[in-house]
Symmetry: C2
Subunit: 331 residues, 2 copies
DNA sequence: ATGAAAGCGCTAACAG
DNA sequence: CTGTTAGCGCTTTCAT
């Protein structure tokens, strides 16, 4: 009964195998010439002792960044960000990198804290859904760490976003094509938010393209589903109410569905930005402008890896296409 | 134009502040007595240089584990696991720990790989939703690293699960109380899965308690929503079809909803295990046995932290309560 | 083909 | 109150 022993080190292996530490190091890294017999012996001891090289010690000595990628998300309850994290993890694993996960809660101070901790770990790259404007991020990451803004743009670094504007335009255009002339916009709050702004612009563009007015009275905002439900009801109570609603995010869509469901109204069309898992089983099925969060994450990872590989071109923005998912009424 | 300079080290700070490295270290760690004037001077230099202590170097020297917690999930697309990760992150942040995130994809080999990488980083604890039986995990974590199984039990370590059986029993009992005598069970695959087994047991218990038979004919399994839809239709086509369905997970619920929706049947009751975001807006609203994934994660983190704090009691299993969310039909 | 010594950035253990 | 020395586990020189 030995209790919990100290983890074996490279030197332990060296001693047992009767070689020098450097030789063990060589075997482990497959570098330099090593006699086949020696290698066998070393490998045997490594296996017997269950030795695992200490990655931190290695990083320290080699001086390079650690084999982690920092990912900072506003929250994880939202499936969108979960899927995004999955995309990052998968894209990064092939390179032997591990994801360090942090939550900002949408708060700049916490974001700064998390980023600080990541930088202290010498993360090799930083992928961040910026909580604020991202100014502090740009400063922090000046230290030669590739930075990629996710989902929303920021200053002085690469950025990956969905085609919010074009997607919204396509969605609203579909409602227009179905004959609607007054289409309400149910947006996020605060109204200054990047994604909300872009999607609202798309709404305007689609209406303008059809020669329709885009009165502010048809624009409402809410942060929660409950608030969105009230906002939707308010829109429908207008003297000239919309005949269709464009819900620019999941909460807005949920609120709109609640409003329509509870008031029993089946004469108002609905289309949402960001697809819902149960959209297909709703009555009527809900059409949506679907994003691809996993691809968003994977793209950001790819961008960061390119920077690690020496890409020194000016910061660029990549746009991930959205897809209009039409779900006709059931027979 | 300096390009990217070397990150400043503790010695750089010491030199600029005209003190020894140890003094800077003391200031940074708030340990030992330091003259106020000296501390100010050091702090000023730290700020000016933008110095951040290298956490890896510190870990190496102190010999203790790294300030990370490894979390291994089967997938991140599933909101359940996203929320779980959020719970872990939040519980662990207070202790200054960061989450290392890995995906096993439900594959034991990949799981072993990820766990190996985490161990090499000297993660201070391991929280794993085990892909297989967890035998390899128990062995790997023997190395004095606290291990907690999440969502499903495993050998030789702590474990946190939902009250699958009692939750399912309560859900089915509710259907029974509503007068149903033939209640179909729509489960996960493979049938040997822990959560499926437990939920099926709950189904049986509820029926037995009411003196009702629990024929195998009423039990069906599926892995995807599409397959669950077919399975549900098959159950409903039975000579003595069920009048209610108990969907034991999200995919099963989705499939059942599709089956009922597409076939236009409104005479079959449905209740699901694991709540759906849009359950409230469905027609009729869907009642569910809700899990609390964030609490599941937080509980696992708490268990692991206790072990880090020296708790050496035998492994224990904590059960996180489920909650029956009844959603009456709308007026 | 192998090894000895030095050192990465930091802190523990002792001075003074 | 502050500094010196040594050394964590590993890799980089530079020898042999």
């Amino acid at each position: 009964m030995s209790g919990m022993e100290r983890r074996p080190t490279l030197h332990d292996v060296a001693r047992e195998a009767r070689v020098s530490a450097k030789t063990v190091s060589r075997v482990l890294n497959g570098e330099g010439p090593v006699a086949a017999a020696t290698r066998e012996r070393v490998l045997a001891v490594v296996a017997r002792l269950g030795f695992r090289p200490n990655l931190m010690a290695r990083s320290i000595r080699t001086g390079g960044p650690d084999s982690t990628v920092g990912l900072v998300l506003p929250e994880l309850g939202n499936p969108f960000f979960g899927a995004l994290a999955g995309g990052v993890e998968e894209a990064v694993r092939g390179r032997g990198l591990t994801v360090l996960l942090g939550c900002s809660g949408g708060d700049r101070a916490r974001e700064a804290e998390v980023v600080g901790a990541f930088l202290a770990r010498r993360t090799s790259a930083l992928l961040v859904v910026p909580a604020g404007g991202g100014e502090t991020l740009a400063a922090a990451a000046g230290a030669g760490v590739p930075l990629v803004y996710l989902d929303r743009p920021g200053p002085g670094a690469d950025c990956v976003v969905s085609s919010n504007r074009a997607g919204a335009r396509a969605g609203v255009a579909h409602l227009v094509a179905a004959g609607h002339r007054r289409i309400g916009f149910l947006g996020d709050l605060p109204a200054s938010m990047y994604t909300r702004r872009e999607r609202l612009a798309g709404w305007r563009e689609a209406l303008a393209a059809a020669g329709l007015p885009a009165p502010d009275a048809l624009v409402a905002g809410a942060r929660t589903a409950a608030a969105a439900e009230r906002a939707a009801l308010a829109l429908l109570a207008l003297p000239e109410p919309p005949t269709a609603l464009f819900a620019s995010n999941v909460n807005a869509a949920t609120g709109a569905l609640l409003a329509l469901g509870r008031s029993g109204r089946r004469d108002v069309a609905l289309l949402s930005f960001d697809d819902l898992p149960l959209a297909e089983v709703l009555e009527p099925p809900l059409s949506a402008v679907a994003q691809d969060p996993a691809l968003l994450g994977a793209t950001a990872a790819r961008l960061a890896l390119a920077r690690l590989d020496g890409d020194a071109t000016p910061p660029r923005t990549e746009t991930v296409a959205t897809r209009l998912v039409l779900r006709p009424a059931r027979p």
